[in-house]
Homo-oligomer: 449 residues x 2
């Protein structure tokens, strides 16, 4: 539908041009479209991430926010190279593969080795080193979609920890089934971790159909060999940074409400659901507050850098600002499908705020959850340190179809659901920004840890 | 679901192996699974296509067919090389691209040029050469899903003819919006044609999200430049061939019923819907006839080679066998979603056969269409020469989501719909194989041309 409308609007020679979005329009779609179109992929520490910061400063200034600035920090840099994989025996054919962040490199011409296949990370963990040494390890799993995204932590361990376990047993390389729930030949990247003392090995993800194919081939019972080429470059520090903007409050003693998402993305897609959506939603909601009235508390919008490589922007912000009184933190980093649930981390004295939030969000189809808010990857350090938090949980049923793949592009975002997000965030910010409760007394919690 | 079952069935160390499918099982799924797993992609003229012929001879012999043989012929060879594309200005970022069959090559380091963008093939056709010369031409279109696949002929012209038109106007290269209906970053390849006297230029398809992105960038109104790297190799003749197997009939004077699909595929996927499905469906139906009784007419099963590069296997078969009496031809080459319609090309004297077919297929939810059967790409030459034909039309609503992409893999095939195909083909073959009508009198037609 969107595509058809666009094409009908185009002149025969498209190059004649079209205007920018009208400046008065709601900024959520405009930020999402601008960032994904004019910058595209924004890997941590890259030139594109730097262009995104400059873009962000210009856009947030134009939107009327106060104190727009960049807080720089340095990050370790890793960049994807050439990548390919093929079964060389018994049934020669290519497989769709992509390197995980922090992967080591193969020789430029690749490496070939027999496959040692495991149905799960637990099976790899239990295997003797002699079943692994010198092999290309394959690790499968059975991740399925969940509304709350809880499969990621559990099955994602194959990505977070699998490469280090395989390296520790002397594997030549590791390929995992993508941590994802789709059926497309677009493998899912994402960071893996090699602890100090464990030398990185080549580590990659197969697309789900390719993992199926490799499992069928292995199940034939004949020895299976793979060739793997991965030439990422790692090393050195590069600049990243957080972009900050504010809606100034009337009562400095009431503390700051810190919200945001992250500006960086993986390199394969244009980072639409992860996380142009989050920066767009939080900025659009803050802008509605700015248009309405001055809130009691300062609302600080933070577009974090370098989230994907370990939440480095979030850590930098926490270290720099931990002495400032934060009344509450809330992050949007789970796409733009509709918010279905909220959860809180609030002191007993602020139980009334949670009740008012329930009433305000119910018209959007949002229910009150029984868990405790964790505030996401970037603002999580505050919640773990005891700061109040609210999570507005997006429906994650299709999130891991797209997450960290080339398919994370703007056409996957539903404008109606994006607007539900902005409306719910605006309602939340109204209540939290003006709440009469003392939100700096953060000793006890109403949520269930 | 399939994946979960597979994983639960796997031992901790998958390499312990699993048996082949039971030999007595219905062969449709087994052929589909075997061909896509043990051979994988099967480009025309490739070593993999040769392995597929050997695999086919072994499998068809094991299934009990008679006169199993290969009829060889040579084909021109073209093979994909390295491929990449990137916007270099005004918003640098990569685009997902794949070369079209017959594409020319860029220099190994690629070529960079300004973009001339057109919303349709008609717009390119109407453009003056000075708007095209030296540029990388982009051509869009508005293809949408249809049940009968009729969008392919119309919008597919951008692929079939666009590159030659751009070359004729002096373009440096051409990239088209994929001839496809999906929203994934998996571009659709397929053959293009450069007529004699038109030197091939680099010609590629962008994935639909990338075409959207390029259109958004062009619509900003600033000059757009692209870098394109395509290094396919073309040249020389290579062996291909048709694999033939028969269910012998009792009445040689009643003519042959020729059915089949094509064994070759494009290189990006494993050719599951295009066209392991067609060879599996037609073989499984012929095998059911073989199990039931000897039909009046010989049923000849043909698994064609080199369909994707211009129906070369079909042409070779027609030239070699045109003197043999063919009572009827029917091809399966449109995936494995359910058959929703049948159409015929039958003489008036065989109107009763079409009526009996309507009765036999109605229980499968299949309606009688008003058009005339064309017998597909490989057996079409017979229908065009006046031979009787029947088309069992599969639902094509999602066919062009997958067609000619890396996503054409077995997980996209629904076993229940595959079985409906086999059952309908078996019912058709029973009627046509034994029909008492004279099907060699092919002077007049009941279908509407």
């Amino acid at each position: 539908m969107r595509r058809l409308r666009l094409l009908f609007a185009l002149p025969l020679l498209l190059a004649a041009g079209a205007p920018m979005p009208p400046p008065g329009a709601d900024p959520a779609w405009s930020i999402l479209e601008g960032l994904t179109t004019e910058i595209g992929p924004r890997p941590a520490g890259s030139d594109a991430e730097a262009r995104a910061r400059a873009w962000a400063v210009a856009r947030l200034t134009a939107l009327g926010f106060s104190n727009v600035r960049v807080e720089p920090f340095d990050v370790p840099y890793w960049a994807r190279g050439t990548e390919s994989a093929a079964v060389t025996a018994p049934f020669p054919q290519p497989l769709a593969v992509t390197a995980l962040g922090n992967s080591g490199a193969t020789p430029p011409s690749g490496l070939e080795a027999p496959v040692a296949a495991f149905a799960s990370l637990a099976a790899l963990d239990a295997a003797p080193a002699e079943a692994v040494a010198g092999r290309i390890v394959y690790v499968g799993h059975a991740m399925a979609p969940t509304q709350d995204g809880s499969g990621y932590g559990q099955y994602g361990a194959a990505r977070f920890r699998g490469p280090a376990i395989a390296a520790g047993k002397g594997a030549a390389a590791i390929i995992i089934r993508s941590i994802g729930t789709d059926r497309h030949r677009l493998p899912h990247t994402g960071q893996t971790v090699f602890p100090d003392g464990v030398a990185p090995i080549p580590a990659a993800a197969l697309a789900n159909p390719d993992a199926d194919q490799l499992e069928r081939i292995v199940a034939r019972g004949r020895p299976v060999r793979l060739r793997l080429v991965l030439t990422p470059l790692a090393g050195g520090q590069r600049p990243s940074g957080n972009v900050i903007a504010e809606v100034p409050g009337t009562d400095p003693a009431a503390g700051i409400v810190a919200i945001g998402g992250h500006l960086d993305s993986w390199d394969l897609g244009t980072g639409a659901i992860d996380n142009a959506a989050g920066v767009a939603i939080t900025a659009a909601a803050a802008r509605r507050i700015l248009d309405e009235r001055r809130p009691r508390r300062t609302i600080r919008l933070i577009w974090f850098g370098a989230e994907e490589i370990g939440g480095l922007g979030g850590r930098a912000y926490f270290e720099r600002h931990r002495a400032e009184p934060h009344a509450l933190v809330a992050e949007s980093d789970f796409g733009a499908d509709r918010i279905w649930r909220f959860q809180t981390r609030l002191p007993a004295a602020a139980a009334g705020l949670a009740d008012r939030l329930e009433q305000a969000l119910a018209p959007f189809g949002i229910v009150r959850g029984r868990g405790t808010a964790n505030a996401g990857a970037d603002l999580g350090p505050w919640a773990r340190a005891g700061t109040n938090a609210i999570d507005l949980n997006q429906d994650g049923t299709r999130y891991f179809d797209l997450h960290h793949t080339a398919d994370d592009t703007i056409d996957k975002i539903d404008p109606a659901q994006l607007e539900q997000n902005v409306a719910a965030w605006t309602a939340m910010l109204r209540l939290v920004g003006d709440a009469p409760e003392d939100l700096l007394n953060q000793n006890s919690l109403t949520g269930t840890p």
